[in-house]
C-alpha cells in the first residue's frame, strides 16, 4: 500500500468540468498504485455507482464523496464515514435540489440540475462527514477567517485540501497554507486521469463558458497538471509536508462506507396490517387463480404455482410481486379501466397470471424454458408493466400518491454526448463555423449514430487537410459517450421502505411535480435495487379503444362490467395466422415493419409460439448471430417432413454421458428447432453445457449487454469453449455456440418479453382480421404510434373493403367513429376531427354538442352555435370538412378567412348579425383535382380523393416508370423504373450500411434496397428526397422464402420539385425561378418520411 490517496478528484459527472469517466479515474488510480481514490463530483452522486463498480473490479478502495458548492460560491468536499452519514449526505443533496434555502428570498422552484445549499444546512446534516475545504489560489485573511469559523462549526473533522498550482510560488503558498492551523491534506484536484485529456478539458471549459478556444484566454488552464499523479510524485511536490500525504490515509481509514452497504427494503404499504408479505401474496395468488380457473385449478397448475411461491418466499421477493400487483390492480379497477400488461423475466409466471399482471395463460402456451426467477443468478425480479400510453400519467400519479415523494421517484437517464451533439459543441468551441459543424453533424445517421465516418466527411465537401477540422473530429470522438446531463427515465420507478432520499439524492425534474433520483437503470441494477417500470405503449391504447368500440358498436361484451380484456381475445384462430402468413400486417403490433413483413411469409406462423419467435428473430442479435437461416431451414425441413407424414427430429450434440444428460441441449433448444434465439437460451447453454456459475453467467450477460467490454468477452469465450470441450462437446460446435451467443450483443431479446409482445401481436392481428373497421378507427384514434402514418392505415383499410368517409362537421366527432353502411356487416369509418392538424379537442366537442340540436345550416350557424374561433373555422375549411354545408374547400376558405380573428362578440350573436361578409363570390377559381388532394394532405396528412402521384403519372410514364401495383407481373431480375414518395427510410445496424426505403405511389408500395456504394454515391438524394424516381432490378424471394419483392436500386433521381407543381404553385412555370423561391421541401405537400435507424 502506497502512502497516498487522491481525494480531490472529479469525474465527468461534474458536467463540462471533469474530463474522464469515473471508471477511467478508478482504473488509473489502480494502475498508479494509489491507496484509494475519493471521487467527489460537484453537488452530485450521479457517477458514484460507476466508480463503485470499477473499484470493485480493480479491488481498489473508493471513497464516495461530494464536492458541495454553496450558493455563496464557497466549497466543501465531504466523505461519509458510514451508512448513516451517507444517508445524511443524500438528504442534504436532495434538500438542495428540491427546496428553496431556508430564509432565502429566492423561493422559485429549483430547476432541474440546480442545487441550492448553504454551509449552515450542510452543518446541520454534517455529522459523520469528514470535510475538506479546498484552498483558494490566493488564501488571504478572509479565507483564514472563514476556515477557522468552519472548523469550529463543522460537526466532524475538517481539513484543508491543498493542491499545487504551478504558478511559480507553490512552495511558499503551501508553507503559508500549512500555517493556517487547520490540518492540511495533499491533493492534486484531479480533473482527468491522464495529461492527454487536457485538450478535452479545455474544450469542455469552452463549452461551459460558451467561448471559442481562441478567445478563451485565461479561462482555460495554463498547463496539463490536473491529472492523477502517483504517490512518489505527490510526495515530491509536498516535500516538507509529509503529514499532508499521511492524512489522506487517515481519511481513507476513517471513511469505511461502501455502496455495498446499501441494503434494500421493499415498501410494505400494500400488505394489510397483521399480515406478512408472503402470506398476503399466497392469498392474493389463490384468489386470482380461482378467478382464472373458475372450474377448479388444474393439478399441473397447482404444482407449478406451489413451486413458484416457494421460490418467491425463499428469495423474499413477495413484496415485489405485491407492489406490482397493487399498481396493476389500481389501473384495472378504475371506473374506466386502464389496459395494461406486464413483461419481463418474472412476468410470465403463473403467479403473475393469477395476479392479473399478465393476460397470457402460461400453461396453455407452455412457452418458457427458463420461466422464472433464476435463483443462482441473484438478480432482482424484473417486471415491466406497459399501460395505455395516453393514461400512463394517471398511474404514475397514483404511485407518487401512494408512496409519497420521499419514497418513490423516477430513475434517471444519463444523456450522453452523441456524435451529432458532440461535433456541434466541439466545433463551436474550436471556432468552426455553424455551417461546417451542421454539415458534419448531418452526416451522422439519426441522433443515435455512433461515429462520423471519414468518408462522410469527404462528402460534405469540407477540407480534411484542415488541422482544426482534424482536431475537431478527434476530440468529438473523445467526447462521444461523455455524460452530458441527467434526464428522467420514461417510467422506471424506485420505491423504498425507508426514505429514498437517504439512499440516493433526489432532484427536481424539468416538469413540475416530477422528481427523479440521480442514478440510472444500470446503476440501480448494479446495486440490486428494485424498480418497477411503468411504461407507455400505444398499442394498448389502440386495443383498449378497439375493445370499447366492439362493446359499444357491436354489442360484444366481456365479463368485467361488460368490458373486454386481453384475456378474452379468442385464442389460436386459424384465419388470424393465415392473414399474417400473407404479410398482411400493416398496423399490427411489432410485426408491421418492413423487415418483419418480409419475415412473415418465410416463417409462416401457425401457432402462438411462432409469434414469439417472429418477434424475437427480426432483431440485430439473431441476425448478426446468423441464426435466422438455420431456424428457417429447420422449419422448412419440419414442414416437408410433416407433409410426407414423417417424424421430424433434430440431432443435438451431447456431452459425454459421464458429465450429464444427453438431452441437456434438447431441453434448452428443442422449442426453437435447435437454434438459440433468446437471451435466456444463451444463458442456459452457458450454465448447463459449460457449467457456468451464477456469477459467471451474470458476467456473460453483462458482457453481452454492453458489448464494449471486448476484453471480458474474449476471456469468457475461452472459458466457455474449454469447458464445453472438456465435457465432451465437439470443439467446433462449442465455438459455433459461443459465436451465436456473442451475436446477441446488445440486442438479444429475452423470451419473456417476446412472449408478452407476441400476445399483443396476436390480439391486434385478431382485431385487424375480424374487425378491420374497428381496428382502423382505434389505430387512428391512438396516433401517433406505430410504423405507418394515417395515410397508409387508411389506404390499407380501404383495400380491405372498408369504406372510409371524410372528415365533416356534419358527422365527425373528435375521434374517428363507425357509421352504419346500408345493411353491410362491417361499418364505415368516419374520420374524426382529430385528424385535422392543429385542431383542438374542445372545438370538436363543441361541434358535436351543438350538432345534437340539429344540423348546421351555414358556416355562420356553425360558428355561432359551437362558438368556434376563426382559427378553428380556418382549419375546418382547409381540411375540406364543410362538405355537409355544401361548401367546397375554396368557398369555405374564403368565408372562414372573412371572419375576424378576435373572439366573437356576443352582442352580434344576440342581434343575429352575421360577422362574415356573406356568400362567397362566384369568381373564386375552381380547384383542380391535384390541388384538392394536396390540400387534403396538408390539412389531414391523407386524402380520400386520390394520391398525389396519380397526377404525375403521365410524367412517370414518360420516364418509363411502372406503377408499384404492377410489380407482381414483372419477372424476377428484370430492370424496372419506379416513382414514389418516400414513406420510410431505415438503416438497420445489422445491414452493413444498406439502406431500406419504402416508397408509395397511387397503386401501392415498393421496398427498395440501397447498397452501400450507391448510398455513398447518392447520399443526398437517398436521405433527402421526398419524391424519387428509382431505376433498379426486381428481386423476388425464392419459393420457401415466400413472395417478398424488393427492388435493388441502381440509380436515383430526385423528383421532389415536381411535388411543388401539384398544389398549383406556378413559380416554376415562369422561366427563371426567383432566387428566393422556397424549396418544395419547405412547403409541406407530403408529410415527412419516418426515418428509423
Amino acid at each position: 500500500m502506497s502512502g497516498y490517496a487522491e481525494l480531490g478528484a472529479l469525474s465527468n459527472f461534474s458536467f463540462l468540468e471533469g474530463a474522464s469517466h469515473p471508471a477511467q479515474m478508478v482504473a488509473q488510480a489502480h494502475s498508479l498504485g494509489l491507496a484509494a481514490i475519493g471521487i467527489a463530483d460537484r453537488n452530485t452522486l450521479a457517477g458514484v455507482v460507476r466508480a463503485h463498480v470499477a473499484a470493485k473490479e480493480h479491488k481498489l478502495r473508493l471513497l464516495i464523496g461530494c464536492r458541495l458548492g454553496f450558493t455563496d460560491g464557497t466549497e466543501l468536499i465531504v466523505f461519509p464515514r458510514d451508512r448513516a452519514a451517507y444517508g445524511r449526505l443524500c438528504r442534504l443533496l436532495s434538500q438542495g435540489k428540491t427546496e428553496a434555502l431556508p430564509g432565502a428570498t429566492d423561493t422559485r422552484r429549483i430547476a432541474k440540475a440546480e442545487t441550492r445549499l448553504s454551509f449552515e444546512q450542510a452543518c446541520a446534516l454534517g455529522e459523520g462527514l469528514v470535510a475538506m475545504v479546498p484552498a483558494p489560489d490566493e488564501p488571504g485573511a478572509a479565507f483564514a477567517e472563514r476556515l477557522a469559523a468552519w472548523q469550529r462549526a463543522w460537526p466532524d473533522r475538517l481539513y484543508l485540501a491543498a493542491a499545487p498550482l504551478w504558478r511559480g510560488d507553490d512552495r511558499a503558498r503551501l508553507n503559508r497554507l500549512a500555517r493556517l492551523g487547520v490540518p492540511m491534506v495533499a491533493t492534486n484536484a484531479a480533473r482527468y486521469h491522464h495529461p492527454d485529456q487536457r485538450r478535452l478539458q479545455d474544450v469542455l471549459t469552452c463549452i461551459r463558458h460558451g467561448v471559442t478556444i481562441d478567445t478563451a484566454g485565461y479561462l482555460v488552464e495554463a498547463n496539463a497538471e490536473r491529472y492523477l499523479k502517483p504517490a512518489d510524485e505527490m510526495a515530491r511536490l509536498f516535500k516538507g509536508h509529509e503529514d499532508a500525504l499521511a492524512r489522506t490515509l487517515d481519511i481513507v481509514a476513517a471513511c469505511t462506507f461502501s455502496l455495498n452497504e446499501l441494503r434494500y427494503e421493499y415498501p410494505d404499504e400494500p400488505v394489510p396490517a397483521g399480515w406478512t408479505p408472503g402470506r398476503h401474496l399466497v392469498a392474493l395468488t389463490y384468489k386470482g387463480a380461482r378467478e382464472r380457473w373458475p372450474d377448479g385449478i388444474p393439478a399441473k397448475v397447482l404444482t407449478i404455482l406451489k413451486t413458484e411461491l416457494r421460490m418467491i418466499r425463499k428469495l423474499r421477493y413477495a413484496p415485489y410481486f405485491i407492489t406490482v400487483h397493487d399498481i396493476v390492480r389500481w389501473a384495472r379497477t378504475r371506473p374506466d379501466p386502464i389496459l395494461c400488461q406486464g413483461r419481463g423475466s418474472s412476468a410470465n409466471s403463473i403467479v403473475c397470471y393469477c395476479l392479473f399482471i399478465t393476460a397470457l395463460d402460461p400453461m396453455m402456451q407452455d412457452v418458457l424454458i427458463e420461466r422464472f426467477i433464476s435463483e443462482e443468478r441473484q438478480e432482482p425480479p424484473d417486471i415491466d408493466v406497459d399501460f395505455e400510453h395516453e393514461r400512463r400519467e394517471e398511474v404514475m400519479q397514483y404511485v407518487f400518491g401512494r408512496y409519497g415523494r420521499d419514497r418513490a421517484a423516477i430513475v434517471a437517464t444519463v444523456i450522453h454526448y452523441r456524435p451529432r451533439s458532440a461535433i456541434r459543441d466541439v466545433g463551436k468551441a474550436l471556432g468552426l463555423t455553424e455551417d461546417v459543424t451542421s454539415r458534419l453533424a448531418g452526416t451522422v445517421w439519426g441522433s443515435f449514430g455512433t461515429e462520423i465516418a471519414e468518408g462522410h466527411v469527404d462528402q460534405t465537401g469540407i477540407d480534411r487537410a484542415d488541422p482544426r477540422l482534424l482536431l475537431a473530429l478527434e476530440l468529438t470522438h473523445q467526447l462521444t459517450q461523455f455524460p452530458r446531463h441527467l434526464s428522467q427515465h420514461v417510467g422506471g420507478f424506485v420505491l423504498t421502505k425507508g426514505p429514498l432520499i437517504e439512499t440516493v439524492p433526489v432532484g427536481n425534474g424539468a416538469m413540475a411535480d416530477r422528481t427523479f433520483i440521480e442514478w440510472d437503470k444500470d446503476d440501480i441494477d448494479a446495486l440490486g435495487i428494485m424498480k418497477v417500470d411503468v411504461l407507455a405503449l400505444g398499442m394498448l391504447t389502440a386495443l383498449k379503444r378497439g375493445f370499447d368500440m366492439l362493446r359499444d358498436t357491436y354489442g360484444i361484451r366481456g365479463p368485467a362490467n361488460g368490458r373486454i380484456e386481453l384475456a378474452q381475445v379468442p385464442a389460436e384462430r386459424r384465419r388470424v395466422y393465415t392473414m399474417l402468413q400473407r404479410a398482411d400486417s400493416l398496423g399490427v403490433f411489432q410485426v408491421e415493419s418492413r423487415a418483419q413483413m418480409a419475415m412473415l411469409p418465410r416463417l409462416r406462423p401457425r401457432e402462438f409460439y411462432d409469434l414469439v419467435v417472429q418477434v424475437a428473430i427480426v432483431r440485430p442479435g439473431p441476425i448478426q448471430g446468423n441464426m435466422v437461416h438455420p431456424y428457417l431451414r429447420n422449419r422448412l425441413l419440419r414442414r416437408q417432413a410433416e407433409a410426407r407424414g414423417q417424424p421430424f427430429r433434430i440431432e443435438f450434440p451431447a456431452p459425454d454421458p459421464v458429465h450429464g444428460s444427453p438431452d441437456e441441449l434438447r431441453n434448452i433448444l428443442g422449442k426453437t428447432l435447435g437454434v438459440p434465439l433468446f437471451q435466456e437460451q444463451a444463458m442456459r447453454i452457458a450454465m448447463d453445457a459449460a457449467q457456468f456459475s451464477g456469477a459467471e453467467a451474470n458476467q456473460l450477460r453483462r458482457a453481452m449487454a454492453t458489448f464494449r467490454h471486448v476484453g471480458t468477452i474474449g476471456t469468457l469465450e475461452r472459458r466457455m469453449v474449454d469447458r464445453m470441450v472438456a465435457r465432451g462437446y465437439p470443439p467446433e460446435f462449442a465455438e459455433n455456440c459461443f459465436g451465436q451467443i456473442k451475436g446477441f450483443g446488445e440486442y438479444g431479446f429475452p423470451e419473456s418479453h417476446a412472449a408478452s409482445f407476441a400476445h399483443l401481436v396476436y390480439a391486434s392481428s385478431w382485431l385487424k382480421c375480424d374487425w378491420p373497421d374497428v381496428f382502423c378507427a382505434a389505430l387512428l384514434n391512438s396516433q401517433p404510434m406505430g410504423f405507418y402514418a394515417p395515410a397508409q392505415i387508411v389506404r390499407d383499410t380501404r383495400e380491405h373493403g372498408i369504406e372510409v368517409r371524410p372528415v365533416d362537421v356534419a358527422a365527425s366527432d373528435w375521434d374517428c367513429t363507425l357509421e352504419r353502411r346500408g345493411g353491410r356487416r362491417r361499418r364505415a369509418v368516419r374520420l374524426g376531427l382529430r385528424m385535422i392538424s392543429g385542431f383542438r379537442r374542445v372545438w370538436a366537442d363543441a361541434i358535436a354538442e351543438a350538432r345534437r340540436a340539429g344540423p348546421f345550416v351555414s358556416m355562420d350557424d356553425l360558428r355561432r352555435r359551437a362558438r368556434l374561433p376563426a382559427g378553428a373555422l380556418d382549419r375546418l375549411a382547409g381540411a375540406d370538412a364543410l362538405g355537409g354545408l355544401q361548401l367546397g374547400r375554396r368557398q369555405a376558405q374564403w368565408v372562414a378567412k372573412g371572419i375576424p380573428k378576435l373572439a366573437a362578440m356576443p352582442l352580434f350573436d344576440f342581434a343575429g348579425l352575421d360577422e362574415g361578409d356573406g356568400a362567397p363570390p362566384v369568381a373564386l377559381p375552381r380547384l383542380s383535382a391535384s390541388e384538392e388532394v394536396v390540400g387534403d394532405y396538408q390539412a389531414i396528412r391523407l386524402s380520400l380523393k386520390g394520391h398525389p402521384l396519380a397526377f404525375l403519372r403521365d410524367r412517370l410514364a414518360a420516364a418509363d416508370a411502372v406503377p408499384c401495383g404492377d410489380l407482381a407481373g414483372v419477372r424476377d431480375g428484370r430492370k424496372v423504373t419506379l416513382g414514389g414518395v418516400v414513406l420510410v427510410r431505415q438503416r438497420p445496424g445489422t445491414a452493413k450500411g444498406v439502406v431500406f426505403l419504402t416508397i408509395e405511389d397511387e397503386t401501392g408500395t415498393a421496398n427498395l434496397v440501397v447498397w452501400r456504394t450507391l448510398f455513398e454515391a447518392q447520399r443526398a438524394v437517398v436521405m433527402g428526397a421526398r419524391l424519387v424516381l428509382v431505376h433498379g432490378r426486381i428481386q423476388r424471394g425464392s419459393a420457401d422464402d415466400g413472395s417478398v419483392t424488393h427492388i435493388v436500386a441502381d440509380r436515383f433521381e430526385d423528383w421532389t420539385p415536381l411535388l411543388g407543381q401539384l398544389d398549383g404553385r406556378i413559380e416554376d412555370e415562369m422561366a427563371g425561378t426567383p432566387s428566393r423561391a422556397r424549396h418544395p421541401r419547405n412547403v409541406r405537400v407530403i408529410p415527412a418520411s419516418r426515418d428509423f435507424h
Partner: protein, 442 residues
C-alpha cells in the same frame, strides 16, 4: 451533400454595402435611385429614358453594363414600381411593360409578385389564390378583409400600386446630409490650385457647424460635381476632430489632385459623412505654441498611410508570454475591458528567447545552480518556480513542449526569467529539454 462545393459564410452587412454601392453607380441612369433590400434597386427612369434612346434601349444598356461588370441582373421597366418589381422577377427575360393595361399583362403572375408579407402570402395560399388574376376577379372589400399584414397593409393597396391606382414613393438614396458645406461656382474650376483655394472656406463653415452641434468629424467627404454630370470625391477617415487647419493638412497630404476634375466642376461639397460627439476643447492659456496632440498625429499618419497600418500594442489573453500582447490598428475600436492578469512578468521580454547553458539542476523540475548567457556564467543565488505553461495545442505552432519558468537572482542581484522547454518523463522523450532566457527583471 455536394462534394467540392466551396462555401463561404454569408455577410449581410457586406451585401448591403455592395447594394448601396451599386445604387450609387446606377445614378448614371437616373437621379432617383432607391435601394430595395436585400437584392433590388428601383430606378425612376420616367424622365431619363429618352436620354438613352427609349425604354428598351435603356433596359438593354442597364442589363448589358451590369452584366459586363459581372453582375447577374434581372430587370424590367414598367409604369409603376410594383409592376416593374413583378416583371423583373417573374418575366422570362428583361421586360418592358408599356401601356395602361398592366392588369391584363400581369394577371398570369403569381401572387408572390405583389410583394406580400409572408403571412399574407400564406393566407392567399390557404385560399388557393395563386395568380394576380385570381385576385383581380374578386371583390375588393372581401380581399381587403382577408389579406392584410400585421401593419394593416392590405393586398388591395399592393394591387393598386401595381396598377398605378395608388401612389408609391421611392426612398431615393443620398438623402441630404446634416453636416455639409457647399459652394457653387459661376466659372467651373478646372485645376487643383483653384480647388485648394476654394477649400478653406468650406472647411471653416463645416467646422463651425460641427462646433455648434458639439460634434467632430470621423469621415469627411469632399465631392466635386462635374459639368459632365459625374461626381468625383475623396474621403478622409480620422479620429473625431473639427480643426479646419488639421483637415486642410490632411486633405493636402491625401492629395487634392486625386479628384478627377474632368472638364471642370461647377460645385463643391464638403460633408461630414460620419460624426462623433466632441466636447469643446478648453482654451489653451500657455504662451507656448500648443504641441500637436496624439490623436491628431495619429489622424495625420493614418490619413497618409491608411488607418490599417497605424498600430498600437494591446494586451491579449494568452498564457504564453510572447503572445500576451498583440498589435491592433489604433483607429479601430478599442477592445473591451483588458484581461485581468496578475502573474509576475519581467519588464524586458527577449523576443525570441535566447538559449542558455544551464547546469546543476534537479530533475524533473528544479532550477539550475548556474547558467551561461552571452558568454557570461552566472551563479544563481535564489530561485523561485517552476511556473508551468503548456503549449496552445489548438494553434498547432511552436512551442510544442511545456515550459517551466523560474525567476532567478544571481550573485550580483540581477534577476532573470529562465525557462526549460520540455518535461522530463512523458513529453517528447527523445529530445532532451533545453534552457532559455526569456526576460530580465528590473
Amino acid at each position: 451533400m455536394v462534394p467540392g462545393l466551396a462555401s463561404r459564410p454569408a455577410d449581410r452587412a457586406a451585401d448591403a454595402d455592395a447594394l448601396a454601392a451599386l445604387a450609387r453607380w446606377c445614378l448614371r441612369w437616373s437621379p432617383t435611385v432607391a435601394v430595395d433590400p436585400p437584392d433590388g434597386l428601383f430606378l425612376d427612369v420616367g424622365g431619363s429614358a429618352h436620354l438613352f434612346g427609349g425604354a428598351d434601349r435603356l433596359l438593354a444598356d442597364i442589363v448589358g453594363r451590369l452584366g459586363r461588370a459581372g453582375i447577374a441582373v434581372r430587370a424590367a421597366i414598367a409604369p409603376t414600381p410594383g409592376a416593374a418589381w413583378a416583371a423583373a422577377r417573374f418575366a422570362p427575360g428583361p421586360a418592358t411593360v408599356v401601356g395602361d393595361d398592366i392588369a391584363s399583362m400581369l394577371a398570369r403572375y403569381p401572387v408572390a409578385a405583389l410583394r406580400l408579407a409572408p403571412e399574407v402570402a400564406a393566407a392567399a395560399r390557404a385560399m388557393s389564390l395563386r395568380r394576380i388574376g385570381d385576385l383581380l376577379a374578386l371583390p375588393r372589400a372581401g380581399l381587403a378583409r382577408r389579406l392584410r399584414d400585421g401593419d394593416g397593409l392590405s393586398v388591395v393597396v399592393r394591387l393598386d400600386q401595381l396598377l398605378g391606382h395608388a401612389p408609391e414613393a421611392l426612398a431615393a438614396i443620398e438623402p441630404p446630409l446634416a453636416h455639409v458645406a457647399g459652394r457653387r461656382f459661376a466659372e467651373p474650376l478646372t485645376d487643383t490650385p483653384q480647388l485648394a483655394a476654394a477649400l478653406p472656406g468650406l472647411l471653416d463653415t463645416l467646422a463651425g457647424q460641427l462646433a455648434w452641434h458639439g460634434l467632430g468629424a470621423v469621415r469627411l467627404r469632399l465631392a466635386g460635381y462635374r459639368i459632365d454630370g459625374d461626381v468625383t470625391a475623396i474621403e478622409l477617415r480620422l479620429g473625431a476632430s473639427r480643426d479646419p487647419a488639421l483637415w486642410a493638412r490632411l486633405f493636402d497630404s491625401r492629395g487634392l489632385e486625386h479628384l478627377d476634375l474632368g472638364f471642370g466642376i461647377d460645385a463643391l461639397a464638403l460633408a461630414a459623412v460620419e460624426t462623433a460627439s466632441l466636447a469643446e476643447a478648453a482654451p489653451v492659456l500657455s504662451a507656448d505654441p500648443p504641441r500637436e496632440a496624439l490623436p491628431e498625429l495619429l489622424d495625420r499618419i493614418g490619413a497618409r498611410l491608411g488607418p490599417e497600418v497605424v498600430l498600437t500594442a494591446a494586451p491579449r489573453a494568452s498564457w504564453l508570454p510572447e503572445r500576451a500582447d498583440a498589435w491592433r490598428p489604433v483607429l479601430a475600436a478599442a477592445p473591451h475591458a483588458p484581461p485581468v492578469f496578475d502573474r509576475a512578468r519581467p519588464l524586458l521580454l527577449l523576443d525570441p528567447p535566447e538559449p542558455v547553458e544551464a547546469a546543476l539542476f534537479e530533475v524533473p523540475d528544479g532550477a539550475p545552480a548556474h547558467f551561461r548567457w552571452r558568454r557570461i556564467t552566472r551563479r544563481i543565488r535564489r530561485a523561485e518556480g517552476p511556473e508551468r505553461l503548456s503549449p496552445e495545442w489548438w494553434r498547432g505552432r511552436r512551442p510544442r513542449r511545456t515550459r517551466d519558468y523560474y525567476r532567478v537572482e544571481d550573485e550580483s542581484g540581477a534577476r532573470f526569467w529562465l525557462f526549460r522547454e520540455g518535461l522530463y518523463g512523458w513529453e517528447d522523450a527523445d529530445r532532451a529539454p533545453t534552457w532559455w532566457l526569456h526576460g530580465l527583471f528590473a
